[in-house]
């Protein structure tokens, strides 16, 4: 997702059977844009050789 639009968010909420609280979309617009940008940063590193860690344990097991 390049930039979040109000329509995209409304569609996501509708799909989940939710309605945003009045004023929330405007209130959270900047935060959501920052989050979308942070998600892009998250994918900026290649960690494809790492396990997905579906079961979490702090002791690392042998790769």
């Amino acid at each position: 997702m390049e930039k979040l639009t109000e329509q995209t968010l409304k569609a996501l909420l509708a799909q989940a059977g939710l309605e945003p609280k009045e004023g929330d979309l405007e209130r959270f617009e900047k935060l959501m844009d920052t989050y979308v940008a942070a998600l892009k940063t998250l994918h900026s590193v290649d960690v494809s050789d790492e396990e997905i860690a579906p079961t979490f344990h702090p002791e690392r097991r042998t790769k």
């Binding site: 997702m1 979040l4 968010l9 996501l12 909420l13 989940a16 059977g17 939710l18 309605e19 945003p20 609280k21 929330d24 209130r27 959270f28 935060l31 959501m32 920052t34 989050y35 979308v36 942070a38 998600l39 940063t41 998250l42 994918h43 900026s44 590193v45 960690v47 494809s48 790492e50 396990e51 997905i52 860690a53 579906p54 979490f56 344990h57 702090p58 002791e59 690392r60 790769k63």
Partner: protein, 460 residues
């Protein structure tokens, strides 16, 4: 009978337990003193959501009777403690669960408190509750926040409204209020303390842990609540060592790693007085005999974002059945987390989990060479309520900061007071290997006994 110069409510657990065991102090007298303190100052601090004074006095009377007949159970017997709202207490509502009927069962942590003979004073406030509930104030300056999300625990322990508390830490929620309120906060290894009966924020990141005035009290509380619990599928069946025994050893020869590159990464977001105080504290650890080494953990810069992605996604999933209620009633930050969870794709979640694997691997490699990591525990001293926007915490978690990486890695991490900036508490963070809480506590205790910041109490 009061046998100390300081008020009874300011005794540490370690001091009080000796007096109680020797019958020089009655649990009833101690509980009454703490309840009187709550009555005197909690109208200004708002630490308690649900004060159970009558129950606490009844429990104190039982403890007193047991001790008088030489049935002493251990360090928490007759000690007044409290828990964050997130932990279930039989007969009390859990406001974070978005339902008001009283819970029918104690959480495992509360059950362990009861078996240890502790006196449960009540449930403490936390961030993210319905909007109408007042936010706790910082005892060092009531115009300022405590830090969240274990807000009430930070205020209550600092101001003598309980002698120890259990908080919960998903992205710094024990260590953040501990650092801002000048107390000790320990997030243990994931799986060390049962999460049974804990309202989930994020299953794979939630950690219960002690919040106390001094390190020896954190050791006593951890000893009481740690251990395997078959009711929690993520609880780990590992031996529980003697945490107080670890405090008797010095730190000569201990190797402490400092991730300077990461501190630099956070520098533009960190108040200069924080890094100065933390650098001084690291210097003191060196003077106490530790060897300081610079270490590299390159993935730390993305760990906070990865933690946030997992947190918001799991938070949304945890509330799938009551999302409508949360959106209708919850505070701004909690509603925002639900929306952000909804925005997160499976690909984002998997990438975050892979970053979790990478941080575990990088930490395991660094911990072959060092015993602990040392770094700051906050970006700045406690801000005023007026300076804070409800969304600040979420913005904080979208860039590098000091807490979340160790939720992601599941490692034990402690916040230990290391000075003051503009008369507000500053803390050092020490992070250990999985299940090596003894080394974390040992170094924190050595520093505490040398620096003696615990001698200064808030002015309230």
């Amino acid at each position: 009978m009061a046998v100390q110069e300081k008020p009874l409510y300011y005794l540490t657990i370690h001091e009080a337990r000796k007096l109680i065991q020797s019958r020089a102090l009655s649990p009833v007298e101690l509980t009454r003193a703490v309840l009187k303190r709550i009555e005197a100052v909690d109208g200004r601090l708002h630490a308690y959501l649900n004060l159970m004074a009558d129950n606490a006095l009844a429990e104190a009377r039982v403890a007193e009777a047991e001790i008088l007949r030489s049935d002493y159970r251990g360090p928490l017997h007759g000690i007044p403690v409290a828990v964050k709202d997130q932990l279930d207490v039989q007969g009390a509502p859990a406001l974070i669960r978005e339902k008001r009927p009283p819970e029918s069962e104690d959480s495992t942590v509360v059950d362990k408190f009861r078996k240890a003979g502790a006196v449960l004073l009540g449930k403490l406030a936390m961030s993210s509750l319905p909007i109408e509930i007042p936010q706790p104030c910082n005892p060092w300056d009531t115009e300022r926040i405590t830090g969240g999300s274990s807000t009430g625990a930070g205020a209550a322990v600092a101001a003598g409204l309980c002698m120890g508390a259990i908080g919960e830490d998903t992205a710094g929620s024990i260590r953040n209020p501990a650092s801002l309120c000048g107390i000790v906060g320990l997030k243990p290894t994931y799986g060390r303390i049962s999460r049974h009966g804990l309202a989930p924020l994020s299953w794979s990141l939630d950690h219960c842990g002690p919040m106390t005035w001094v390190v020896e009290d954190a050791a006593h509380v951890l000893q009481t609540v740690a251990g395997y619990d078959p009711k929690d599928p993520t609880s780990i069946d590992a031996p529980v060592p003697d945490y107080s025994a670890a405090l008797r050893q010095d730190i000569k020869g201990m190797v402490i790693g400092v991730p300077r590159h990461f501190i630099e990464e956070c520098r533009s977001r960190t108040d200069a007085e924080i890094t100065t105080s933390v650098d001084k504290a690291i210097g003191e650890l060196q003077r106490l005999g530790a060897r300081i080494e610079e270490v590299a953990l390159p993935i730390l810069k993305l760990a906070t974002i990865a933690n946030a992605v997992i947190y918001y996604n799991e938070h949304y999933a945890a509330h799938i059945g009551d999302t409508k209620t949360v959106i209708r009633n919850a505070a701004t930050a909690r509603r925002a987390r639900i929306y952000l969870g909804l925005l997160t794709s499976a690909a984002d979640y998997i990438q975050a989990q892979r970053i979790r694997s990478r941080i575990k691997r990088e930490c395991a490699e660094v911990f072959r060479k060092v015993d602990l990591l040392a770094l700051p525990c906050q970006l700045g001293p406690a801000p005023t309520f007026k300076e804070v926007d409800p969304l600040d915490t979420l913005y904080k978690h979208l860039g590098p900061e000091y807490h979340a990486p160790f939720n992601l890695a599941g490692l034990p991490a402690i916040s230990i007071p290391c000075g003051f900036a503009r008369n507000l508490p500053v803390a050092l963070q020490l992070v250990g290997k999985p299940f090596d809480e003894p080394t974390v506590l040992r170094a924190a205790y050595a520093y505490q006994q040398h620096a003696r910041w615990y001698e200064r109490r808030p002015p309230i």
